[in-house]
């Protein structure tokens, strides 16, 4: 709150200073500005809001706060020949409140923003973990007696259900799980200031600070059979600064800039209790990561405090014959040097006896991360339009992501705080260096029709990835025309062939992968993309829009057998928008999207087990999603006397199928151990109606109604048997918060007074 007041006060002082400065400066000789609009305008929209919800109320208000109470929206503006001022305030006092202020007098500009954005996960969440955080440690504890009861395998006690039979008994933790609102919030304050120091010189500065608080669902596991979800407390802040100075004249521009960003996380580590162990397993069990006979507590690192600085130069120069060159050059530095947590919190491992066998665990190679990436980035862009028929654009980009983080030796490490192992390896600081050359020739077939033919050569040299070099050759053609007053056509086709050089299959097999696996983000492939957009205006008041977009990825490395093999998408959209008169607008839009993909895998044990090379263990997955979108709207602004009416309805649905195939599936089916997954579906719709009636030019009343409904079915969301919508937090292999994808229905009504001026 104190920060809020300080920042607000600073913004007001700044604004008043600028205003005073504006009054002192001499007005330049100028002509009279055109006809006057209202110099001062605004709206005060204040009333009451009521919300009625069934189902997942948090999902309904995912990024908003619609709780019962006051509704507020304030706008104010004052525009004169010497300054523009605007101010808005929304939903004052609620978790999504927003205040926005802007001022300019031509000489200087100032802006201020306060925005709160909630992220509501679930209001039905439950957890048996209790937050006992202290200092920079988030500490989540469980009832020790319950843990001991589970550990000692007391008859009738279930901790984390491990098989279907145990699902018939409630976990001991279900009863002690308290309900809470699982939500977080980002509060952002941003301040901007710009000054035209001279006609050609601009100086600007921005500062923003964003604080995240609340909690989020977080995976916190101990073993394959003991994966849990806890509410992780959040307490971090990001401060961003930017400053720049620009000099411009009709021939060109030069800008020098600096940006700095500091992320500070007040929570350095998470420590949480194991639901199935009250005491550490002593000595440790080498199979603990599988059976859960591990530590009493776990510890993990949190996102590290870090900072980034970038200095940049941007320039633009206009040459004869409509030729322009512009470009940027920047140097970046990203650093984080957080202290490292120990190998494990488990005293059954962190002791001299284990160190004798695993000497690497006796100490950390270094105590802080010492992580650093430096970047050099450049863009050079030449555009020449020497005549009305032809234009040429040549572009070169260079990115160097130089990771200077020293290698960290973790050949010996501790898995799940449960088992010391010798398979950790060393860290792999990821580097890349990218060169992109792009040339496009534009042929102006007429003054309003442009045909563009282009080619891009893009190559990426990479360190610590299997594909050490990727080369993309892209050919494209586009046509954009407004040749007829009735028709606009925009079309583009692009083909990209990606080749891989210096593929190090050892990087794939070294990570345990099949040698015929290729990672889809670096695999050789052909990519085809096309978009066609038609806009027809039979009369000026009507536009009909039709568009088709399609993309196809075909992975074509002849040695690839596993991984993503195909990935396609298509999108069709049709729309009509009509504005028969200034006061009336209506329209409807429909879209249909389809996404399909095919991937192949092999369910195997590691070589030399025979299954490793057994094609009968292969399986495939076809993922096929169809989505429909529909929007319709009607706006009547004083088309009815003294009345504004606004209606809109939006609809979106999805049908997502997961179809397994291949010999492994046939074998599982024959053994009675395969059940096809049901489609994941959802259907969302939203109706919004708003009617305002004005008694005179200033005073009116308004009523609004919002209806929103989500139907969803997702096999990944687990409810209590026979209680749809009521989460089960103690399902197989996990104690969760119950957060999931559940339906909701919301009715929100508004009644308010309006005052406009």
């Amino acid at each position: 709150m104190r920060n809020r007041i300080i920042v607000t006060t600073a913004a007001l002082l700044l604004a008043s200073a600028i205003s005073a400065m504006a009054q002192q400066q001499q007005n330049p000789p100028a002509t009279t500005a055109p006809a006057a609009l209202a110099p001062t305008f605004g709206t005060i929209d204040f009333g009451f809001r009521g919300l009625d919800t069934t189902g997942d109320a948090a999902r309904l208000q995912r990024y908003s706060d619609l709780r019962n109470g006051a509704h507020s929206h304030v706008e104010f503006g004052k525009n004169t020949d010497t300054s523009l001022i605007n101010f808005t305030a929304d939903n004052v006092g609620y978790r999504d409140q927003r205040y926005d202020f802007g001022f300019t007098n031509g000489k200087a500009t100032a802006s201020f923003l306060w925005d709160s954005t909630p992220l509501n996960y679930a209001y039905y969440a439950r957890t048996p973990w209790v937050d006992r955080s202290t200092g920079s440690s988030a500490i989540l504890t469980l009832d020790p007696a319950a843990r001991l009861a589970v550990q000692s395998k007391q008859p009738g006690i279930v901790g984390v259900p491990a098989n279907a039979g145990q699902l018939n008994t409630a976990s001991i933790f279900r009863g002690m799980a308290g309900q809470f609102d699982l939500q977080q919030r980002r509060d952002t304050a941003a301040l901007g200031f710009g000054l035209n120091a001279t006609r050609d010189l601009l100086v600007n500065f921005t500062f923003s600070t964003a604080k995240k608080s609340g909690a989020m669902p977080w995976g916190a596991s101990f073993a394959f059979s003991n994966a849990n979800e806890v509410p992780l407390p959040l307490d971090n802040r990001t401060n961003d600064f930017a400053a720049g100075v620009e000099w411009t004249n009709p021939k060109g521009m030069v800008r020098l800039g600096w940006t700095g960003s500091w992320f500070d996380n007040n929570i350095h580590e998470l420590v949480w209790d194991n639901p199935v162990r009250a005491t550490d397993m002593t000595p440790y069990d080498p199979s603990a990561y599988l059976n859960g006979n591990g530590p009493a507590q776990g510890r993990m690192s949190m996102p590290p405090t870090n900072h980034m600085n970038v200095v940049s130069a941007t320039a633009l120069y206009k040459m004869p014959r409509r030729t322009t060159v512009n470009g940027t050059l920047s140097f970046a530095s990203m650093k984080q040097n957080d202290s490292l947590i120990p190998w494990t919190i488990n005293p059954a491992i962190a002791n001299a006896g284990v160190y004798a066998k695993f000497p690497g665990l006796a100490h950390l190679e270094r105590s802080t991360a010492e992580a650093e990436v430096r970047g050099i980035n450049a863009l050079l862009n030449l555009t020449s339009r020497p005549n009305s028929r032809f234009g040429l654009n040549v572009r070169y980009r260079f990115n160097d992501h130089d990771n200077r983080t020293p290698i960290f030796d973790a050949v010996e490490y501790v898995r799940f705080d449960a088992v010391p192992e010798e398979t950790g390896g060393e860290t792999e600081p990821f580097d890349f260096k990218r060169n992109t050359f792009d040339v496009n020739g534009t042929f102006h077939l007429t003054s309003a029709t442009a045909l563009r033919l282009g080619y891009t050569f893009d190559t990426v040299d990479r360190l610590e990835r299997a594909a050490e070099q990727l080369t993309d050759n892209t050919f494209r053609a586009s046509l954009d025309t407004m040749q007829s007053q009735y028709v606009t056509v925009r079309a583009i086709y692009e083909h990209t062939a990606r080749d891989v050089s210096n593929l190090d299959v050892g990087k794939i097999t070294g990570g345990g992968g099949q040698p015929a696996l290729r990672f889809y983000d670096e695999a050789a492939r052909d990519r085809d993309k096309a978009t066609l957009l038609f806009v027809v205006n039979p009369v000026a008041q009507v536009d009909l829009t039709a568009s088709v977009a399609a993309g196809k990825d075909k992975y074509n490395d002849s040695d690839q057998y596993f991984g993503l093999l195909d990935n396609d998408n298509t999108s069709y959209n049709l729309g009509v928008n009509v504005t028969p008169m200034e006061q009336v607008a209506f329209g409807v839009n429909y879209g249909h999207d389809k996404f399909t993909s095919l991937q192949r895998s092999r369910n195997a044990n590691p070589s030399p087990d025979a299954s490793w090379n057994d094609p009968n263990r292969d399986w495939t997955l076809n993922n096929d999603e169809k989505v429909n979108n529909f929007d319709v709207y009607l706006d009547l602004l004083r088309a009815i006397k003294k009345t504004d009416v606004s209606l809109s309805y939006s609809f979106s649905d999805s049908d997502n199928a997961f179809v397994h195939g291949g010999p492994r599936i046939a074998a599982l089916t024959a053994a009675g151990q395969f059940q096809a997954l049901p489609n994941v579906t959802n259907q969302w719709q939203q109706l919004r109606a708003d009617v305002k009636y004005f008694f005179d030019t200033h005073v009116g009343i308004g009523v609004g109604y919002w209806y929103e409904k989500l139907d969803i079915s997702d096999f990944a969301t687990i409810d209590l048997p026979g209680q749809p919508g009521t989460p089960r937090i103690d399902y197989l292999g996990e104690i969760s918060t119950g957060y999931g994808n559940r339906p909701y229905k919301g009715n929100t009504g508004f009644v308010r007074l309006l005052y406009t001026f």
């Binding site: 100028a30 500005a33 055109p34 006057a36 209202a38 525009n79 020949d81 007098n105 031509g106 000489k107 995976g219 971090n236 060109g252 800008r255 960003s261 993990m300 949190m302 996102p303 322009t324 512009n326 190998w343 991360a369 990771n403 799940f416 860290t427 990821f430 890349f432 003054s447 309003a448 029709t449 045909l451 610590e464 990835r465 080369t471 050759n473 050919f475 586009s478 007829s484 925009r490 583009i492 062939a497 992968g513 889809y520 983000d521 829009t545 991937q599 895998s601 369910n603 399986w619 999603e625 989505v627 979108n629 599982l668 395969f674 059940q675 096809a676 049901p678 969302w684 197989l732 292999g733």
Partner: protein
């Protein structure tokens, strides 16, 4: 290098588009319409006497006011109000006036070649967010300033937009993208907390996809999600290269805006031994503790630190 087959296929496709273009243009000879006037021959430099002043313009064009906008700020030494008023953008008007309002004797950006019209705007708007306009993706595609902005009749509250909101404006061409704001998992665009310009600068940037922050996709995303910026001790390589390998920032029906549902997204790459390539299907979901790799957070139930880990024991992103 691309194969001959790929080159031939691309060339055929390009030739087809070119042919369609030629046929289309041939079928629609430049029948005059707003926006199709051929560029004029370069006029000689105007003298002061060629300008008539704004008062003269307003005698006939009173409805073309721009007061109340930034263009009317006399205190900005570059603004039309501080320079030549209407004629700052429309050029000297004497010939137009003396020609009795002859529209061929006045410059009207709405009726000019799109790129030439943009050059008029870029006379002043050549810095800050507009510095890299020339040669940018929109500029190359014959999308110009007047495609999205209207100086005299804006519909939006800000930025002189030709639509009442930014997403609505962008949807006029990018409907397949803007539709994604209605997906089950989405950025807070439909709630009005973010707009297209929160991430994109449509006027040209040094980043890909007209992203306005940073010079890579990751730098753009971590400008808000700084907790994922690292650099980490243990990196998940695809994460360090591009967030979009796994996420669709415009919206998705999968949790956390993933491009595919977990665990199947992870299984696209993790074809190893033991649990990663296990067939995660309905039987396991109902009968085994391995169900925890299907429901809820799926793979991330254990591999929570998937964006990178700063723990010495963080190789598998478990800590």
């Amino acid at each position: 290098m691309p194969s001959i087959r790929q080159v031939v296929r691309s060339a055929l496709a390009i030739a087809t588009v070119a042919l369609i273009a030629v046929l289309f243009v041939a079928a629609h000879p430049g029948a005059a319409r707003p926006g199709t006037v051929k560029p004029k021959v370069q006029a000689p430099p105007a003298s002061a006497a060629d300008y008539v002043g704004e008062d003269m313009c307003l005698q006939c064009h009173e409805d073309q006011a721009y007061k109340g906008t930034v263009h009317a700020l006399k205190t900005n030494l570059k603004s039309p109000a501080a320079t030549k008023g209407c004629e700052s953008c429309h050029g000297p008007g004497r010939a137009h006036v003396e020609g009795g309002g002859d529209v061929t004797k006045i410059q009207n950006p709405k009726k000019m070649n799109m790129q030439e019209a943009s050059e008029v705007c870029a006379t002043c708007h050549n810095r800050e967010t507009h510095a890299l306009w020339t040669g940018s993706q929109h500029d190359q595609r014959n999308v110009g300033c007047t495609s999205c902005h209207s100086v005299h009749a804006p519909k939006g509250d800000t930025k002189l937009l030709k639509a009442s909101s930014e997403p609505e404006l962008c949807a006029s061409c990018h409907r397949n993208i803007t539709n994604k704001q209605h997906r089950f998992n989405h950025m807070p665009v439909r709630e009005g907390k973010l707009g297209c310009s929160s991430c994109h600068n449509v006027h040209g940037t040094s980043n890909v996809k007209l992203l306005k922050a940073g010079i890579t996709v990751d730098e753009s995303c971590t400008s808000c999600h700084a907790e994922k910026r690292g650099p980490y001790l243990w990196e998940h390589a695809p994460v360090a290269e591009s967030c979009t390998a796994c996420h669709d920032p415009h919206g998705s029906n999968n949790d956390r805006m993933l491009v595919a549902k977990q665990p199947y997204l992870c299984q696209r790459c993790h074809v190893t031994s033991r649990h990663p390539p296990t067939v995660y299907e309905g039987y396991l979901l109902k009968n085994s503790y391995n169900s925890n790799k299907i429901f809820g957070r799926a793979c991330v139930s254990c591999h929570q630190q998937i964006h990178g880990s700063n723990a010495p024991s963080g190789k598998a992103f478990l800590r």
